[in-house]
């Protein structure tokens, strides 16, 4: 692989790139001594967590970091031109023409008042003088290239008439119209649904093979990068900690951080399932739930949208039941129904626990900003029990220790804690009154990968000690696999598949489940 690359022409070289911000009193360095080489037709992945400097590197390559308070050092050489120091005119010739970029959020990257055709043509109009017909022809060609159905129709449409996946295709078409030699894709699939993600990844692969465009694929998702890229650079805190051939790095990761990332991709087929108990804590039968749709009229018949369709399940005592689905499938609605927060429901459910608790996704919104950690931890005890203040405080201190935090945090306010610490406090507060039933709604998706790992371990450990039954809601199959005894897959308000975790992960019955598994890196060659 490396040999083959040497024979190819190197088209872009980044040397000793340093980027620092100057808007605070001390310069904050976000990228340190980064070296990258992009060869013709390459597929290079840059992997790292949010804040690791991967997007900053990409923006610097595309000349988009021209603010005066940003300090850049080093060299970015393209065709003998240093993009960091060259004149603006020269840079503009290269931007969008030779090097183009697509962003994460297709919903906001398009101008809402311009027709799609016009926006796809824009880069071409800026770089080449052609006739109107040729512009249109090239735009249609680009729209065909990204496999959009009926390009002529799309050409005349406005962005709001397209779906998220279609918009991302339009973005790619606009980026590809000048036939760039390098395409920078900054988390191009993160904001999209799993099924669409897969299609966009396939499309990028095809563009790379057929058009010989080098792609710089930036992602936090290691398994996605493994599928797509022949080479990879792993970034952490502004440094490239490891770079090279993708398969080589997967087989022999050298840096501790890379090892951690790879370890976070689970192997399946190794879990043992034992039924914890026959006692049912929560039981739902044929739940339907509705949401009033806004008609925009003061009077007149109100319409209803059905969110949950015929949902039935049992949660046994002491087990962790996973609920998996994409955003908008009704996962959160189900949790609200079970907690009695939604009125418009049909069907029945029995909840044996009087005070079910919940851990929310966003640790920044779920703690009262005006109260101390100690106060927050004691609140359930104050409401549910008659314990004296000293006993409550003692229990809160113990809980802080159990969730792995120092007692000093008792008098701190939530904004003095990190996201991971806050989520620990949330878990602690939920367990204070020793509930029998806990709903964890995406409890780790707002956290960075290695913090996720810690919080999950904590949750599992406390669960094993206390024996609380948990409904674990997540869109992330890896997380679900790690903690859940059984899983349910939800799609459009229906539970389409359910069973023991390994059963579902190894032998999925539904095509949708298979798709979910594929995009999460399961059902791949790395399955044990």
């Amino acid at each position: 692989m490396m040999q083959e690359n040497r024979s190819k022409e190197m088209i872009l070289e980044v040397k000793d790139l340093n980027i620092a911000f100057h808007d605070h009193t001390l310069p904050e360095t976000v990228v340190v001594d980064v070296d990258l080489q992009v060869y013709e037709g390459d597929m290079l992945g840059i992997v790292g967590e949010s804040g690791s400097g991967k997007t900053m590197t990409a923006l610097a390559i595309n000349g988009l970091l021209n603010r005066h308070d940003i300090q850049k050092k080093g060299e970015i050489t393209y065709k003998g031109v240093d993009l960091l120091t060259c004149a603006r005119n020269e840079l503009r010739q290269i931007q969008g023409n030779d090097i183009s970029i697509i962003f994460q959020e297709p919903m906001t990257s398009l101008d809402p008042v311009q027709k799609i055709g016009r926006q796809v043509e824009e880069p071409l109009r800026l770089h080449e003088k052609l006739s109107e017909e040729t512009y249109k022809e090239r735009a249609l060609e680009a729209l065909r290239l990204v496999e959009l159905p009926s390009p002529e129709e799309i050409y005349e449409r406005y962005p709001h008439e397209l779906s998220g996946g279609q918009r991302q295709r339009v973005m790619i078409a606009a980026a590809m119209i000048c036939k760039p030699r390098i395409l920078i894709a900054d988390e191009p699939t993160t904001a999209l649904d799993v099924t669409i993600q897969e299609q966009i990844v396939e499309l990028l692969k095809k563009l790379n093979q057929n058009e010989k465009t080098a792609i710089l694929f930036i992602s936090h998702d290691l398994s996605l990068v493994r599928k797509l890229c022949s080479k990879v650079a792993v970034m952490k805190d502004g440094y490239v900690v490891e770079a090279g051939d993708t398969e080589e790095i997967f087989r022999n990761p050298r840096h501790a951080y890379t090892k951690e990332l790879i370890a976070a991709i689970p192997a399946i087929g190794v879990k043992e399932y034992e039924k914890k108990s026959d006692e049912i804590i929560v039981s739902a039968r044929n739940l339907n739930s509705y949401y009033p749709a806004r008609t925009g009229k003061l009077f007149g018949k109100r319409k209803k949208v059905q969110i949950l369709k015929d949902v039935s399940f049992d949660l046994y005592k002491g087990e962790i039941l996973g609920l998996v689905g994409e955003s908008g499938c009704g996962k959160s609605t189900l949790s609200k129904v079970l907690l009695g927060m939604v009125k418009d429901t049909e069907g029945s459910f029995v909840n044996k626990d009087a005070h079910p608790q919940m851990v929310f996704q966003d640790p920044y919104g779920s703690l009262n900003p005006g109260k101390t950690i100690g106060w927050i931890l004691q609140e359930p005890l104050r409401n549910f029990t008659d314990l004296s203040d000293t006993i409550c405080e003692e229990k809160a201190r113990n809980m802080l220790k159990r969730v792995g935090l120092s007692e000093e945090l008792m008098d701190r306010y939530p904004n003095q804690l990190s996201g991971g610490q806050r989520q620990r406090v949330c878990i602690g507060a939920a367990l204070m009154a020793e509930p029998g039933f806990l709903i964890a709604d995406e409890p780790v998706s707002a956290l960075d990968v290695h913090i996720q790992e810690q919080v999950l371990s904590l949750l599992k450990e406390l669960h094993d000690q206390i024996g609380v039954s948990i409904l674990f809601i997540s869109h992330d199959l890896r997380v679900v696999y790690r903690v859940c005894d059984r899983v349910m897959i939800m799609k459009e308000g229906r539970i389409i598949e359910s069973g023991v975790t390994d059963e579902v992960f190894l032998h999925p019955k539904e095509e949708y489940t298979r798709q979910l598994l594929r995009t999460s890196g399961f059902l791949d060659e790395n399955v044990v």
Partner: protein
């Protein structure tokens, strides 16, 4: 950093101005250079002098002494007004914002009707019904200030009530009243406090306006607005008569506004 210092400077300047004026008002409780109501025919409309640094009015009363007591009246009325408005406004706003539904619809439509009239006009009507005097003015202006506080607090509650920490509080067994007054309201306090400062200024102006029109504080009580109204006839002969009460009024509002900008 520079912006931060600048902001702090504004606040400090405002606090100094407002502090000096408040001190003057407080001092008038124990001591004024002269009895503010003692008439002295020999000093009728006397100009500025060491004995009377702000001159005397048409009855020969010392203007500095009257400004000090008048300032006290004005501040008491403004504080009373804002406290009534903020207290009842917060309660109405919390309940309507938190519970929503038809209760909210009905109360807020009444609120809208009240908001449609300028606060001063509303207070004028009430004072004409209740009669003038310090306490009636406080009551009338206070009631007139409730709708704007209610609307603002309701908005904050609408924002807060769907936050996860509020849901969590419910799950942790807190009742509605506990959620409203222990969990949400303290987080709305900063917003209420800054509107209290703005409301204070409006109340100062409203009181001055009403007293100027003669339906606020009744003679012989002094208030800044009342003094301006009395000085009207002597604008050319004794400009200091109108100048000092007006100046103090402007300084008071400036000082509190500077603080409120923080």
């Amino acid at each position: 950093m520079i912006q931060f210092l600048k902001l702090r400077k504004n606040f400090k300047a405002g606090a100094v101005i407002a502090g000096i004026l408040l001190f003057m008002a407080l001092l008038s409780l124990f001591w004024t250079p002269y009895d503010p109501e003692k008439m002295d025919a020999a000093h009728k409309l006397a100009g500025l002098s060491l004995a009377h640094p702000m001159g005397c009015d048409n009855f020969g009363r010392d203007i500095l002494s009257r400004v000090m007591t008048g300032l006290r009246t004005t501040v008491v009325i403004a504080v009373g007004t804002v406290l009534i408005g903020a207290f009842f406004g917060s309660i109405v706003g919390s309940l309507t914002g938190y519970f929503g539904g038809s209760f909210d619809e009905i109360v807020m439509r009444i609120n809208d009707v009240l908001l449609a009239f300028p606060a001063v006009l509303l207070a004028l009507v009430m004072v004409s019904l209740l009669g003038g005097g310090k306490y009636n003015v406080i009551l009338a202006l206070g009631i007139a200030f409730v709708p704007s506080f209610a609307r603002m607090v309701r908005g904050e509650f609408l924002r807060c009530k769907d936050l996860d920490y509020v849901k969590n509080a419910r799950l942790q067994g807190a009742g509605h009243m506990r959620v409203i007054f222990v969990h949400i309201l303290p987080n709305v306090m900063p917003v209420i406090l800054s509107s209290v400062l703005i409301g204070f200024n409006n109340a100062v102006l409203a009181e001055a306006g009403m007293s100027y029109l003669g339906i606020g504080v009744q003679p012989p009580d002094a208030s800044l607005g009342r003094m301006l109204s009395e000085a009207q006839g002597y604008l050319y002969g004794a400009p200091w008569y109108a100048l000092f009460p007006g100046l103090i009024l402007v300084l008071l509002i400036l000082g509190v506004s500077l603080m409120g900008n923080e």
